[in-house]
């Protein structure tokens, strides 16, 4: 186990880098996913088509392929940047499809009678959305959205493996490949790092679920 304590600063930096990747990707994919969900439920057909194809493409394509596409494709259309940002972009694109589906299924779970009643008592579109539909939809969205985001935290390791570097996966790779440390203790350190993020996230999610749960 000495390897963990000897390389503690390496692990700490890796942990922070993983956190950084996750935080940026959570923000990006929540925003993009909400926009795409808006597309998918919009009354405008072209927006719906784009939303549907977006989801079908990114949900059925391995994250690795999405990442390679970002790294090789974006420079070709004139988007240049650090490898780090290609990694984040790939993770955001991939996760946004799942976020979109979580949000959309939440909206669809609101019984149509609710919105009809809201319209019948004379609420405008904005009022019915903000006071009737969304409050109910958001509660249903919490569990699936949470598991999507926890899956995303785990997927951040793929971004690291893809070559962004510096995160927990890369720490494991450096210690075992370049320095030839025994793999098992290194593995334990890396796994602890991930559990330190995913387990609190899971507990937080469970708490949030109980807090917003509604009987229907």
């Amino acid at each position: 186990m000495d390897v963990i304590f000897d390389n503690f600063s390496l692990y700490r930096d890796g942990f922070l880098q993983t956190l950084r990747i996750c935080a940026l990707a959570v923000i990006g994919s929540l925003i993009l996913g909400t926009v795409i969900a808006g597309f998918r439920v919009s009354p405008v057909p072209p927006l719906r088509w784009v939303g549907t194809s977006w989801v079908n493409v990114f949900r059925n394509c391995p994250l690795t392929v999405v990442l390679f596409f970002c790294a090789f494709g974006l420079p070709e259309i004139g988007v240049n940047g650090a490898y780090f940002w290609f990694g984040i972009t790939g993770l955001v694109l991939y996760t946004s499809a799942f976020v979109c589906e979580a949000i959309r299924s939440g909206i669809n779970s609101v019984p149509p009678g609710q919105a009809e009643a809201a319209r019948a008592v004379g609420l405008t579109f904005g009022q019915s959305l903000s006071t009737v539909v969304l409050p109910q939809a958001l509660r249903t969205v919490v569990p699936p959205l949470g598991s999507v985001l926890i899956a995303m935290i785990k997927n951040s390791a793929i971004v690291g493996a893809f070559g962004v570097g510096g995160d927990l996966f890369a720490v494991g790779d450096t210690l075992t490949s370049a320095r030839g440390e025994a793999a098992l203790p290194v593995l334990i350190g890396v796994v602890l790092g991930y559990l330190l993020i995913t387990i609190p996230a899971g507990v937080l999610l469970g708490w949030l679920e109980r807090k917003v749960a509604i009987a229907r």
Binding site: V41, P43, V44, P45, P46, L47, R48, V50, N56, V57, R59, N60, C61, P62, L63, T64, V65, V66, F68, F69, F72, G73, E76, I77, G78, Y94, F98, E101, A102, S105, I107, P111, P112, A115, R119, F125, V133, P143, P144, S147, A151, K154, N155, S156, A157, I158, A161, F169, G172, T176, A182, A183, L184, L187, V190, V191, Y194, L195, T198, I199
Partner: protein
Amino acid sequence: MTTSVLYDAPGPRSKRRVLISSLFAGVLFLAVLVLVGLRLEKQDQFAGDKWAPLFDPGHRRFQQVWTLLGDALVNTLTAAALAVVFSLIIGTLLAVARIAAGKSYRWLLVGFIELFRGIPVVIMIFFAARVLPELGVDLPTLWFLVIGLTAYNSVVIAEIVRAGVNSLPKGQREAAESLGMRRSQVLSLVLLPQAFRAMLPALISQLVVVLKDTSLGFIISYDETVRTAGIIIQNLKNPIQVYLLVAVIFILVNYALSRLAIYVERRLSQGKKAVVVDGETATLPANDVTTPGTGGG
């Protein structure tokens, strides 16, 4: 979209507005596509020599490229199939153990399952390939990939199985017990067969996750589709075209599987209650564990 919760059936004025927005949005998206196309054209991405080895049977490299890709696809499918079969077996055993376990050691199983669910699948694969040889287990790379995938997916499947068993009406177990069946008989003759039926859509969705995750084999140099694509690219220097082809292959197969899951779910829900596969992510019934159907990569 007639019964949307969000808006009424459009009247003449909204119809006009929708039409105008449609035209506007359509033009906007077309403009983006054209812009991207022009950029790619400028970089010579539409040049024949970048596409011909992949799509022109007359090209001298065509045969070679597709032999490589064909082998790679077979490798991908082999890894996925083995991983699914092993995950199914181990996952079912785990679920049965968790259901049958006494209170004293159930926490151990729960802890084990939660632990493995929290570890990224790519870490499992990577360290399976690093740790096992150290312990003297020398296997072809295929098996490291399969072991990594199985370690992750068997706990996911264990949760699906458990949710499937829990979703059955209580009367099923009570009836079986009152007939004098042993606990093992109750599970194997009454509960599990029904649970598997109800779980089928969630299991098919998990298959999509496994298939996508096999692409992580490139990290441990297993010759699956994505790694082979990389090798082809080194020779042909056409990353966009090759990855496009790989993406299309994955999307078509996985999309077909997703549709199959939805179809099976509809068929089942006509008869008995199915484990809900919401959208296509495997979401289990309320107040039960939500499987991370969105899985790895």
